[in-house]
Amino acid sequence: MKALQQDLKRLEATDTQVLGVSMDSAFANKAFADQIEVTFPLLSDWGGDVTRKYAIYVDKYKAARRVNFLIGKDGKILEEQVDKDAIDPTKIVDKCERPKLKN
């Protein structure tokens, strides 16, 4: 989440909204956001319905995998980063900055 915050201005400049999601409570996520100084919403998927809908629920940890989805204005997925690859969002930021997506 910190890496996305660092790139937030670049993402916002390309008409891109950032949303974090975890299975923590909304209140824990607010405290987490304050602690790491994240200014975009950290949503609470308490119970995990959305995490399961995206098929990234890990039974062993009772939590989501680390996955970044870049979703276009038409609602289609443009890019994905999974697990360790999702720690550095550069691939997604670069994709947003390609001229085609700026419209």
């Binding site: 910190k2 909204q17 974090g20 998927d45 098929a55 970044n68 979703i71």
Partner: protein
């Protein structure tokens, strides 16, 4: 003789596969969420819509993926646990 052995091996493999197959639904927890799917949505597919809350310090505020349709791209970043790493 050798053929009998390989047949036995094949049968035990088949039994093993059957046992695994019957164990999978219990592991998958598919019944917990009606809309749970079995494979992650792929690039080019529609992202499943959702509405989730965040706490802004005063109230719970709902956010839907669909509210950005035709307006903004969205990065949806699933993270594992709050207070662990970045």
């Amino acid at each position: 003789m050798q053929k009998g052995l390989s047949n036995a091996l094949a049968a035990s493999l088949l039994l093993g596969a059957l046992a695994l197959g019957s164990a999978t639904p219990a592991l998958g927890q598919a019944k917990q969420a009606e809309n749970a799917s079995t494979s992650m949505p792929k690039v080019g597919e529609m992202a499943p819509d959702f509405t989730l809350n965040y706490f802004d310090g005063n109230d719970l505020k709902p956010v839907s993926l669909s509210q950005y349709r035709g307006k903004k791209n969205v990065v949806v970043a699933f993270f594992i646990f709050a207070f662990t790493g970045g």
